[in-house]
Amino acid sequence: MDKFQNIENITFTIAFILYMVSAITHLFLVTKLAKKVEPIAILTALAGLVLHTAAMVARTAGANRLPFSNQYEFALSFAWGIVLSFLILYRIYRFGAIGAFVMPLAILVMGYASLQSKAVRPLMPALQSHWLTFHVGTAILSYGAFALACGISIIYLIDAKRTGDHRILKDPEVSDMLTYRVIVFGLLMLTVVIISGAIWAQKAWSRYWAWDPKETWSLITWIIYAIYLHLRLRRNWRGKSAAWFSIIGFISVLFTFVGVNILLPSIHSYAT
């Protein structure tokens, strides 16, 4: 087990450094100081992701289960989801600049992870369920997508004030549409997260819904993104107000993830 822990620590650290390099090069990219660094920014992010994945594999091997069950493991996976969704979007649309807003976030979440206890502890009875894997696995995808959407929305709001070549992405309409597509994926996944959580709670605690702070905050997040969807149905509400809701939605995601654990008593607090 010590061996795995060592591999995990080393790969984690290198991934962290690579993400830093990637974030800094991305910042150069958007401030137009150096336009040619995009390949470096993307490749370091990709290399970081590979090592990050190795850290998660080592963790999985050491703990004999997927790294989904305490605050450290979830932060580790959350950051992974953020970088992965960024790189997937890059592969499809080639908008590297988004990394300038997403990679720093991944670093923050990794930093948060490194502050948590890394001890592998046995699972308490309520967590011993296949639903855990499914529930948390979809949460990672969902949160990663929302992080990405938040990044693009920030770009949208910056670009809305600029014109032509000064814009980060050429066409704000495109940023708006991309945000929409990314949020739609995140929201579908979040719906799966909430529903799987409810089904699991029905099995473990007899009630699918108990207004526990963590589940309540996931509902709040869900409602915010539902509002976002409907804002976009009207032409004049699209764009700015929708972008703000995308950002507020992600703040709610972060609060659900971190704030609830710190500030509110919860049956989910075993996840600390």
Binding site: S129, M177, S206, Y208, L231
Partner: protein, 421 residues
């Protein structure tokens, strides 16, 4: 007259109202999570001198069951129902295979010469193609407009399920020692606890609580099953869930001189036994399977493994405390002409017994919502128009994304073709 009523209906169904209601619901829920719930009114008045009375008048102390919250949800359900019904007509029209949206003149166009390439592409992507002279029109996933409606219906089903649940669900906690039975009169069966076990991991933390239960129906059929956390037992509409556990000690009161046992039985931790003949009250303060002394000099248990078990016992005579003791199993407390011992401990299981006939409805609501969202987001209607070297794409909420995907796919088709040529 008809006009005004339609106007009112459209106002009720408006998106603005929907967004305002959703925001209010979200804010109400947020306050419910930030404010401690279900305390006494005096507590709020004392803790929040300025806002206390407001909190109580808005029922924010029990936010999720308060009349205001229920009214908000009801208004929302009305808004949602009306809007869903009103939009059905338009969606019906758009599902018709002759329906095409207007294709914008300049936006979302792709220049492509070869009609055959376009036709092959559309066929491969399973579009329904319509030829007219040298022009092509094609559409796909027209039924996808129903996605929003399906989602909305799922939500309404969920509301109905939740409401039924709130009115009909019942819940009870049943504590059972091995051998104990609990009868369910209406359903016509009883359960008997055969055994209750805890398993531990190598660090001493509880790995699982396991109750072995026999269900005995009134017609005599018996089945025995184990149940544990995440593995409940369902029988005749009743769910039984492993929820808690506790300890009892086997109390024995013996006459010191004759050795005669005057009383014996299991006493639950935290409960008292009154021994009438000597006006003695025996209070089992606690049972500590792995005892240690905490910093406040109180006994604590490091785990639930019976490694170094002790009982804490307090005796009262005529209501006055006369002594407190920490004893090991079998160790006697001499008191006047009596000896008081706790021979061994037995754990009892706490089963949560709950019936909620609405759960299947709720589950159906969940699945309908998921289906509706998937249809909305991934099976949205897509349309293509092609004439004289220009291809136009149209998709109501996904214009640019659809255009981008068609462009990349066409480029790929063309490169492939060029390679073949």
């Amino acid at each position: 007259m008809k006009r005004t009523s339609m106007k009112v209906l459209h106002a009720i169904a408006s998106l603005k109202v929907a967004i305002v209601l959703l925001s209010l619901i979200a804010i109400y829920i947020v306050i419910g999570t930030l404010l401690p719930q279900h305390s006494a009114p005096e507590w709020y008045l004392e803790r929040y001198p300025a806002l206390g009375s407001l909190i109580i008048s808005l029922s924010l102390d029990s936010a999720y069951g308060s009349p205001i919250f229920i009214v908000l949800i009801a208004l929302f359900a009305i808004n949602l129902t009306t809007c869903t019904v009103l939009s059905l007509k338009g969606q019906w029209r758009q599902m018709d295979s002759n329906y095409y949206p207007s294709f914008k003149e300049d936006e979302f166009t792709i220049d492509i010469e070869d009609q055959d390439t376009v036709h092959t592409f559309l066929k491969r992507k399973r579009f329904r193609v319509e030829r007219g002279g040298d022009a092509l029109r094609a559409g796909k996933f027209r039924w996808g407009v129903l996605g929003a409606t399906i989602t909305h219906i799922g939500l309404l089903v969920l509301f109905v399920g939740g409401t039924i649940g709130n009115m009909t669900a019942s819940e009870d906690v049943v504590n059972l020692l091995p051998g104990n039975e609990k009868r369910f009169e209406e359903e016509g069966f009883l359960i008997r606890l055969e055994d209750f076990d805890m398993t531990f991991d190598d660090k001493g933390a509880v790995k699982q609580y396991i109750s072995t239960v026999t269900v005995i129906d009134d017609d005599g059929t018996e089945t025995t099953r184990e149940l544990w956390v995440n593995n409940p037992l369902h029988h005749k509409g009743i769910g039984m869930y492993q929820a808690s556990f506790g300890w009892t000690g086997n109390l024995r009161v013996t006459d010191t001189a004759s050795g005669e046992i005057q009383a014996e039985g299991l006493l639950r931790s935290g409960r008292t036994y009154f021994h009438q003949s000597s006006h003695l009250t025996i209070y089992l303060y606690g049972y500590y399977p792995e005892m240690a002394i905490g910093h406040d000099q109180q006994p604590v248990s490091l785990s639930n493994r019976e490694i170094d078990p002790h009982y804490a016992v307090v005796l009262y005579e005529f209501g006055n405390p006369v002594g407190s003791y920490i004893i090991a199993p079998g160790e006697a407390i001499p008191y006047k002409d009596l000896e008081i011992t706790f021979t061994h401990a037995v754990a009892y299981t706490g089963l949560l017994v709950r019936s909620d006939p609405s759960y299947p409805v709720v589950l159906a609501g969940f699945l309908i919502i998921l289906l509706g969202m998937f249809v909305s987001f991934y099976c949205y209607p897509r349309f293509i128009h092609f004439s004289s070297g220009t291809l136009r794409t149209a998709s109501r909420r996904n214009g640019w994304v659809f255009h981008h995907s068609v462009r990349s796919a066409l480029e790929r088709t063309q490169t492939r073709k060029n390679k073949e040529d």
